[in-house]
Amino acid sequence: MKAAAFEYLKPADVAAAIAALAGAAGDAKPLGGGQSLGPMLNLRLARPKLLVDVSKLAAMRAIEDRGAAWRIGGAVTHATIEDARLAGCGVLSEVARDIAYRIIRNRGTIGGSLAHADPAADWPLALPALAASIFIAGPAGERQVPAEDFMTGAFATVLTEDEIVIAVEVPKLSANARWGYWKFCRKTGEFPEASAAVLLDPARKLARLWIGALNGAPQALTALAADVAQRGTLAATELAIGQALERAAPTLDYAGRRLHIAAVQRAVKKACD
């Protein structure tokens, strides 16, 4: 279980990283904290000829207050977010705190997690729920994608092979905004079997309810979210959630449906209590 041979490049800046990726004709992979790519290399499930290490690029390691939003560099680790004091975005620290174990959070990065796009991972669920944006750099320059459009399926995103996630921007929550995040893990640190995130921010006219740990990308339960905004926990009945799941995640088996119902109810309860 050792990786196949590869070249390792530590580029000077983002432009050099993009150039290296573009020059490898699909045979290169950007390396963040390596917490997913590392095992995949060792299992030889990933066999790039070139690894472009973007984890040390200064431009991608900053956390900036942009007034209405926080901008977090793609190479910022979960642990850094966990320990940060992000006024208006404290929920990011809450989400970060429950990602895997601290030793993984010490290395794993927000950009890497998004690019890897595990359907059960936390950022691919939390960021759409928070109406975040994702900033992508590639040979043609930078582009911005709403977090909800970023992930296209299990381990699939809008990224092309020569693009990297350089930052995410998360709008600050209003003072009276409510947030609920709940996931069910069989044991501490494992990927969840079901997860849900709820944002109720009336000042910004936002009511968002997302579920994760599905076969594909996280899904929005839009109508249910609107109902929850109106009626709170009363809206989150088993029946209503079950019906929403029929549309959003029709392939769940019985236990999967039960677990997602529980996740939604408990996330809603956290947001509304």
């Binding site: 279980m1 050792k2 990786a3 196949a4 041979a5 095992p39 299992l43 030889r44 069910f184 069989r186 044991k187 501490t188 640190g189 494992e190 990927f191 079997e193 079901a194 088996d253 019985y254 236990a255 999967g256 039960r258 677990l259 119902i261 529980a262 109810q265």
Partner: protein
Amino acid sequence: MSEEHGKPGQGIGARVPRKEDSRHLHGRGQYVSDMLLPGQMEVAFLRSPVAHGRIRGIRKPAGSEGRVFVREDLVEASDIASPSSLPTYKLSSQPPLAHGKVRFVGEPVVMCVARTRAEAEDLSELVELDIEELPVLVDADAARLEKSVRVHDEWDDNLFLTLSVDNDFETLSKKASVVVKRDVELSRQAMVPMEGKAVVAHWDERADMLVMYYSTQTPHIVRTGIAQFLGLDEGQVRIIAPDVGGGFGYKVIVHPEELAVAWLAMKYRKPFRWIEDRREHLVSGANARQHRYRLTAYADDKGRLLALDAEITIDGGAYSNWPFTIGLEPGQAISNLPGPYDFRGYRCTTYCVATNKPGFMPYRGVARTGVCFAMELLIDAIARAVDMDPYEVRMKNLVRPEQMPYDNVVKKHYDSGNYPGALALAREKFDADKWLARQKSGEADGRKIGIGFASYCEQSAHGTSVFASWGLPLVPGYDQAAVKLTPDGGLEVRVGVHSHGQGMETTFAQLANEILGIDVSKVKVTHGDTGTTPYSTGTYASRSIVMCGGATLKACQELLPRIVKIGAHLLKCSESEARFDKSLGVVAPDGRAVALKEVCTVWYLRPDRAPLDVDRRGLEVSVSYKPDRDTGAFSYASHAVAVAVDAGTGAVEILDYVVVEDCGTLVNPMVVEGQTIGGVAQGIGTALYEEIQYDANGQPNASTLADYLLPGPTEIPDMRIFHMETPSPYTMFGIKGMGEGGAIAPPAAIFNAVNDALKASGVEVRKTPLTPQRLLDEIERARKQTLADRQAA
């Protein structure tokens, strides 16, 4: 955590801190992976990608001569044949590399050698396997009945063996007024020691000897096996087991990869190393626990068990093993199912079935985790059938202390103990009434509280007659210990067992201290090296402290008269007047004393001061020992657990876990507690987490720890352990073995607790591990059943 239990001093019963901890805690342990020999080459195995197939051809890459090996290349190595004298047992052999057929996913087929492991794996990717896929046998029940598709073509079916017993079943079952039927099942597991298999093999030209650093529990057995399978003299093989990162039974046999690497070293006279990685372990080491039980209990209306009818099916996988054979598991299952209970009617048939999975091996608890799970779930089911408290039904049926020694329905000889006493103490320490009150009042978060008990007895330190009855090709006899006083008054103890977590470097020093009074820091225990230790079959079956420990005690005792003789001479008194005192040394009638150290100095350095008729055998001795009666010293325990069950998610949280155990005279209560904690952790893994499933093609669904869940620190409760001490009448100082026990009861206790929590809704879970999915499905099944019952009514 536990009530402080321990005697003062450093002898038997003292909580002496473990001597071996310093090197482990400082990261200075030395494992096989730490061994680096000049010019060492790395080995990787190409493994079968299919569960069952005929090998049509293997194409080696061009220019790979001397680096890529198939079975035919290993001319000098024979297949690992594992004969057994058990009736109906069919002989099978496992080749070091697959030959003719592949029989499970992960079976080693080609061996590749390179400077680094990565390059060896690169090389293995260039090998082309041409395998014609054959129909796959995945389910043991189906494989048992299948005749045309066979794992071993030379057999006429897929049965390794079938064992049957019938003692007074017909007569006693007829007296029953209550009949309770249950099916229970355990899933397939891997043992997952932190360190997997590991070998470094080289040829020592000067000694004309194959030397292997080998992660094993049984170096002397392995030596015999390697010599036998390579056609070497035993004198040409030395096995050194350095620090070993967990055994659990995985390391009591000769594995094909180890034999293949030994062959490389013998053939090429260079060092070769192979370290099993986690993926290899999970795929090719999924070899434990998978039993299925069909049980019928016959009881009276007061919950008294009269007779038991059982059919046990063990999914044996593809191969038997050497030397324990696959017969060990069914042999233990059929003979241990009756457990700690007093009933006299028993009928059982046990099938051990060949399937296209890795060959079954003895995992900590060997079959007893399964039989305890089956029996204890059945006891609770009887309790529900007669509407009694499961605790009371257990109490009513446990062998009572006044019946000891007790020969049970299969003539197991329970030597001593107070089984109901342990259960009662568990209930008291656990404060069952508190939990029942909490269960009644309900939880604020809506979770359901349940409590569960499980009792078992554990045959430990069983010897010659027992292993011979299981048909093994190699049977343990007397164990030996060599002890030697050093000129400065220290002691060397050399034993052929191996300590890999059992703390024997400490406990054996305590045994020596008990006799000779030497400070444990001056007692050096050497183990696990065939070049420096006397013969022992090794560490397994909860035996080392009784067997090699007994030999150590006896050896120290044999030194005493020799010491006294020299001491009396120095004190100028007669030998018969002098006595040995552990702190003073040899003492004269008038109180004058000469220290043990001085006696040692005289024998080694100043023999001019020794008596003329000094005992010329000196201050070293090798002594062999086995207990007076070798049918085993039975440890036993009762476990009690409280759980909170979340019916919305199927999550089970353990709120309290109590163990009351009796392993006879405690040598070191802290070590016993450590062993218990580790065992319970593994039992919790069996109960709630660990499982490798196979699809219809025999492909395992777990090959990394992302898919194979192990309990971690946050899943293991702060368990509370309490001791009882009933010395065995048959062993030195009444010591019993206890290494496996912790892993036996947890699945039973936890399932009983979950079933208790959800009993109002008719839920009864009976298959390990209890995943949220399984529990949610069962809750739904019970809901539909209740609905249907209501409609029918």
